[in-house]
Amino acid sequence: MAELTYRDAVARGIAQEMSRDSDVVFLGEDIAKAGGVFKATVGLLEQFGPLRVRDTPISEQAILGAAMGAAMTGLKPIAEIMFSDFIAVCFDYLANEFSKSRYMTNGQVKCPLVVRTGNGGGARFGAQHSQSVENWCMMIPGLKVVAPSTPLDVIGLLAASVRDPDPVIFFEHKSLYAVKGEVPDGEIVDTLGTAKIVRPGKDATILALAMMVPRALAAAERLKAEHGVDCEVIDVRSLVPLDTQTMLASVARTGRVFTVEENPRLCGWGAELVSIIADEAFYDLDGPPVRITTPHIPLPAADALEDLAIPSVQRITNTIQRSLSA
């Protein structure tokens, strides 16, 4: 057992998989010699050499295209897109290419690859380096979408993503890189498509993802301490595949559900979850499902503005408290 940062967990997860399988290769901007702009890939070049850990030019289409070509001919590439906002300049590969090639070719083409990317706000980077764009990927048939919230989950879900035969978009939250957590020694492999109840409770279910998980947990503690409300917090972890059973079972126990989403309002992942719950657990509900999201705005840079935009512990607490006491 060791205490590890989320950032170091990324490098450990990649190293674990590269040590196990020589077909795993890694490419991206500044990932090798520089160890990543977030220092999440330090040491990999030294450990695995320049043939397997390769710096690329600022060419996001080439990065994802090359990952696809390598994957469809037998390798298992991990590609880094430095900031998830940059997915927009190589969106073709997610939207049209490796997501659809298996289907279009009647199962001939296989693309076992992982796209790692720094997602989310809180770092005062402004509107083009702060977005939570997991919902951009969730809407595309053929992709899998994962977003861990702890160092342990980073390793386990990254390992599961590398070993998965489908393309996986792996969202690392930039504001979690410094967070520490206990991680056991030895190989760690988790399972995609499994949500985790990170705080049991009986009065309401909170569904959260990535940086919203620690905020939801803090809000749950505050609700308990200040209002006697006992919330169950579920870390969704994987948007595709989606563990609806864990969420539906929780809602059946608590009768209320709140989503906490960092993405802007429209078509955020919570909308899909609420839709499923409304459809399949309507008679378990004692009140309306409530979505707590970033407003439908581009993210601002200044501290005061960004803090106001992204759901805070206080806003989560207040929203849930008001809704439950209404």
């Binding site: 290769v25 043939l51 397997r52 390769r54 690329t56 030019p57 060419s59 289409q61 080439a62 990065i63 994802l64 295209g65 090359a66 990952a67 696809m68 070509g69 390598a70 994957a71 469809m72 001919t73 037998g74 390798l75 590439p77 073709d92 590969y93 049209n96 290419e97 090639s101 298996r102 289907y103 279009m104 070719t105 009647n106 199962g107 001939q108 083409v109 296989k110 076992p112 048939p141 053929g142 899998k144 998965d164 035969p165 489908d166 498509g193 595709v240 595949p241 989606l242 563990d243 609806t244 059973q245 499923i276």
Partner: protein, 346 residues
């Protein structure tokens, strides 16, 4: 052997010679061109009969590029094609029936109707896909070449695209990428003079859309006559040999001409009067190659026999496809994910 020369006027041009191509190879390239011509013509006929739906982008007039390149490839080499990919798919040995069946949405189609005209793929033949987003497959070919480099495999990735592709970002990203990693990939531009409905010269900063860009990436500008299968073969072979030997990528530009419009929707009324007729009369790849074959001592009878057998092959394929059942609706939701299904939730 092929000889190239660089002139002050511009890119190197191929000096045509007849050495290095024996009768068997010549007959093979002739057959390939005739097969593409017949199959593409048939696809057009079937479209007019409403038996092919959607769209199709034909390679009529461009047969020599596909035939010459495929002949220069080795088993295991990989083809990456565009939506104008029927010719390259056939040239690697995929059966006419499989291609026509796919165009007709039949169960015997290459992809059982899940891809259609623009996505022909046959991994077992090295046809790694036909990509309908301009430029997307150039980086993908780089990735396949990276795998060969990393694993020590000796195959070459060959990526075909049109002149219009040279103006999209992925073209430039891929060229830079291939050069800095010295990848065994060959980029083949089929310059058929038109970017969809617009003359390429009206929308491109340079006269030769691919070759004139080569020097920006430290590559030799290489152009050859795309209507002459021998010239294509020699030019391609030299580039493939270089890539296989670890010499890195090449960018080739073949000047050619398409007889039909960009797609089924395009009657190509933008062409100057007489241009199509000129190319058909004087620059038709099959006429040129038939004469080349005769000049090299191959008989009329041998060539006639090839034409007859190809015609029969295409006729039989057509009949089989017409008789084949439509694609089974059972496959609507298969193969979205590797487990064979489409499940996104439990």
């Amino acid at each position: 052997m092929a000889k190239t020369q660089t002139t002050a006027a511009g890119p190197s041009v191929l000096v045509r010679t007849n050495d290095g191509i024996d009768a068997d190879l010549r007959l093979r390239m002739y057959r390939s061109q005739v097969q593409i011509r017949e199959a593409e013509q048939r696809a057009n006929d079937l479209f007019l009969q409403n038996l092919v739906k959607g769209t199709s982008h034909l390679s009529l007039g461009q047969e020599a590029v596909a035939a010459g390149c495929a002949a220069a490839m080795q088993p295991g080499d990989l083809s990456f094609c565009t939506y104008r990919g029927h010719a390259h798919t056939l040239a690697r040995g995929v059966a006419v029936e499989k291609v026509l069946g796919e165009l007709m949405g039949r169960d015997n189609g290459l992809l059982r109707g899940k891809g259609g005209s623009m996505h022909l793929t046959s991994i077992e033949h090295g046809v790694m896909g036909s990509y309908a987003i301009i430029g997307a497959h150039l980086p993908i070919a780089c990735g396949a070449a990276w795998r060969a480099q990393y694993k020590g495999d000796k195959d070459v990735s060959v990526c075909f695209f049109g002149d219009g592709t040279t103006n999209i970002g992925a073209f430039h990203e891929a060229l830079n990428f291939a050069v800095i990693w010295k990848l065994p990939v060959v980029f083949v531009c089929e310059n058929n003079l038109y970017m969809e409905y617009t003359p390429i010269s009206e929308v491109t900063a340079v006269a030769n859309p691919a070759a004139d860009r080569a020097s920006a990436y430290g590559l030799q500008p290489i152009m050859a006559d795309g209507q002459d299968a021998d010239a294509v073969y020699r030019t391609a072979k030299a580039a493939f040999d270089k890539a296989r030997a670890g010499g890195g990528p090449s960018l080739l530009e073949f000047k050619t001409y398409r007889y039909s419009g960009h797609s089924r929707a395009d009657p190509a009324k933008y062409r100057p009067a007489g241009e199509l007729e000129h190319w058909k009369a004087n620059r038709d790849p099959i006429k040129i190659y038939r004469q080349r074959a005769l000049d090299s001592g191959i008989s009329h009878a041998q060539l006639d026999e090839i034409e007859g057998s190809v015609k029969q092959e295409v006729d039989q394929a057509t009949e089989k496809c017409k008789a084949a059942p439509p694609t089974s609706v059972d496959i609507l939701c298969t193969d979205v994910y590797a487990d064979g299904g489409w499940a996104w939730r439990n």
